[in-house]
């Protein structure tokens, strides 16, 4: 399939380490859909939450620098990580309307700012630029019978005026995408609640409490799995799930997919190319039960080596 969509790609730090499968599945899916993706050369960390928490000027400067680097590549900026997406959009917003801060950042970069690049999350690219019809047309293995809890977390939609991805309190973009590829969605309470994000390093107890509430709500709503678009949410929901089950003496066993992994499955990409082996809560029993993967493959898949 060919189309004229082209983007500069800002993966963000997590996608080069703990969220390697998000990076892999994004590249594979976009190649399959014929969407051009060129990684921004020598991109920097956007500063994420710690930078704006204690030093807004540094955070704005790092984001402005990344946007300047992105400017050398044709097309809008595609961002996979919800936190990077939020930071880049917020920087554009603040620097666009606050002259004092803009002058300070210009001074920090010692260059005129190039902020015009349109920053887009992968969800936006799939749902709006490619379009749901075209996405649905490329499906050849619909995810029939799979009940997905779409988890937005904090930074994809909040606050109201900045990311402008979807409604801040009742977004539907994830549900629309996953329904377009044949899956079912569940209505649940915690899709916009915070998972504790970067407290996973400093105060894991906080994360365990907040993430438990999310997993519990997803399970109660009858979901088979959770879909996310943020590597930090994924880290907390997937990597910490076993620990949470132990602390609360319960069992969730909810595989946590990145959106690109589920969409990738529906267009017929192989589990290896989507990095499914890297998930801590194995998705293979669920996928075989729902007949989304051949049973004969199961033994090989379970021992998949994760991300290369």
């Amino acid at each position: 399939m060919t189309n004229d969509l082209k983007y500069s790609y800002y993966p963000g730090c997590s996608l080069h380490a703990s969220a390697g499968e998000y990076d892999l599945s994004t590249r594979e899916l976009f190649r399959h859909l014929g969407i051009g993706l060129t990684e921004i050369p020598d991109w920097f960390c956007c500063g994420a939450t710690p930078a704006h928490n204690v030093d807004e000027l540094l955070s704005l400067s790092l984001c402005a620098k990344n946007l300047e680097l992105a400017d050398s590549i044709e097309g809008d900026v595609a961002v996979a990580c919800a936190a990077c997406f939020s930071r880049l959009k917020t920087a554009q917003h603040i620097l666009g309307e606050n002259d004092v801060k803009r002058k300070q950042v210009e001074q920090a970069l010692d260059a005129p700012l190039k902020l015009d690049g349109n920053v887009k999350h992968l969800l936006e690219i799939l749902a709006k630029d490619l379009g749901l019809e075209r996405l649905a047309a490329s499906v050849n293995k619909p995810l029939t019978g799979l009940k997905v809890a779409c988890y937005y977390g904090c930074l994809l939609t909040r606050p109201t005026d900045v990311p402008n991805l979807d409604c801040a309190e009742a977004p539907t973009i994830m549900e629309k995408i996953i329904e377009a590829v044949g899956a079912e969605t569940v209505a649940w309470t915690h899709r916009l609640e915070c998972c504790g994000a970067n407290f996973t390093l400093s105060r894991p107890g906080v994360v365990i409490q907040l993430t438990n509430a999310i997993l519990d709500a997803a399970k109660a709503a009858g979901a088979d799995c959770i879909m996310v678009g943020c590597p930090l949410c994924h880290g907390n929901l997937d990597i910490r799930q076993k620990e949470i089950e132990k602390v609360y003496s319960t069992s969730y066993d909810l595989p946590v997919f990145y959106l690109t992994q589920l969409v990738g499955l529906s267009v017929g990409l192989s589990p290896e190319n989507l990095g499914l082996g890297a998930m801590i809560v194995s998705p293979f029993p669920l996928l075989t039960e729902k007949k989304l993967m051949e049973t004969s493959l199961l033994d090989n898949q379970v021992s998949l080596p994760g991300i290369r």
């Binding site: 730090c13 997590s14 080069h16 380490a17 703990s18 969220a19 020598d42 920097f44 960390c45 500063g47 994420a48 939450t49 710690p50 930078a51 704006h52 928490n53 204690v54 030093d55 807004e56 000027l57 540094l58 400067s61 790092l62 620098k65 603040i94 606050n98 300070q104 001074q107 920090a108 970069l109 010692d110 904090c154 930074l155 909040r158 606050p159 109201t160 801040a168 309190e169 609640e193 915070c194 504790g196 994000a197 970067n198 407290f199 390093l201 400093s202 105060r203 894991p204 906080v206 907040l210 990597i239 620990e243 082996g277 890297a278 998930m279 801590i280 080596p305 994760g306 991300i307 290369r308």
Partner: protein, 194 residues
């Protein structure tokens, strides 16, 4: 924290600090009419001694020391729920950023050291490598915070899945990031930025 009686007088109200917060956050604390929606939706309010609406109230009364002595600002997750739901457009998440910044610069008295340590290491990593390397971040955090065994069982699991990078490289254009850091430091020295 021990409950100290609050005395509101010209001596105890420090409005200059509040003005700095307002300038940094580009929002007005005076707009708040204490509806409490921010605290109702705050996922972290349960961990704070001053929930978000009280933080704003204390600012209105110029009692900022009470805020930065506690841990509330360091337990804010920057989830932006408060800013989203405020009916009167008080950008509380930005106020929290400004409070942390001012407390951080003054090497504030808060006892919440883990969060501050994590932030410090995170920023150091950007300056040294250009990008974040989680394995290094977590390892150094454990050593510096004296929690050598924290999340030790996760390590091998993540390594086996290829989720931790043992080796990492520095950005080729690292000198540019160093310049940004040092220019900002210089601007602050010359009083050209807060």
């Amino acid at each position: 924290m021990k409950k100290k009686k609050m005395i509101i007088s010209q001596e105890t109200m420090d409005v200059d600090f509040v003005r700095k917060v307002e300038a940094l956050s580009d929002t007005s604390v005076r707009r708040c009419f204490q509806c409490g929606k921010c605290s109702a939706g705050c996922p972290m309010a349960t961990f704070m001694e001053h929930p978000p609406n009280r933080v704003v109230r204390l600012l209105q009364l110029g009692q900022w020391r009470r805020i930065i002595e506690g841990r509330s600002i360091w337990y804010c997750a920057s989830c932006e729920t408060c800013s989203t739901r405020c009916p009167n457009k008080v950008h509380l998440a930005s106020i929290m950023d400004a409070l942390r910044k001012l407390s951080w610069d003054a090497d504030g008295p808060s006892k919440e050291s883990y969060v501050q340590l994590a932030n410090k290491l995170f920023l150091q990593n950007i300056r040294t490598y250009g990008r974040q390397y989680e394995m290094r971040l977590a390892a150094v955090f454990n050593v510096k915070s004296g929690q050598f065994l924290k999340d030790l069982m996760l390590g091998p699991k993540l390594l086996a899945k290829g989720k931790l990078k043992m080796f990492h490289s520095k950005n080729k254009n690292l000198s540019e990031i160093e310049k940004i850091f040092s220019r900002i430091e210089e601007m602050r020295k010359n009083g050209k930025a807060l």
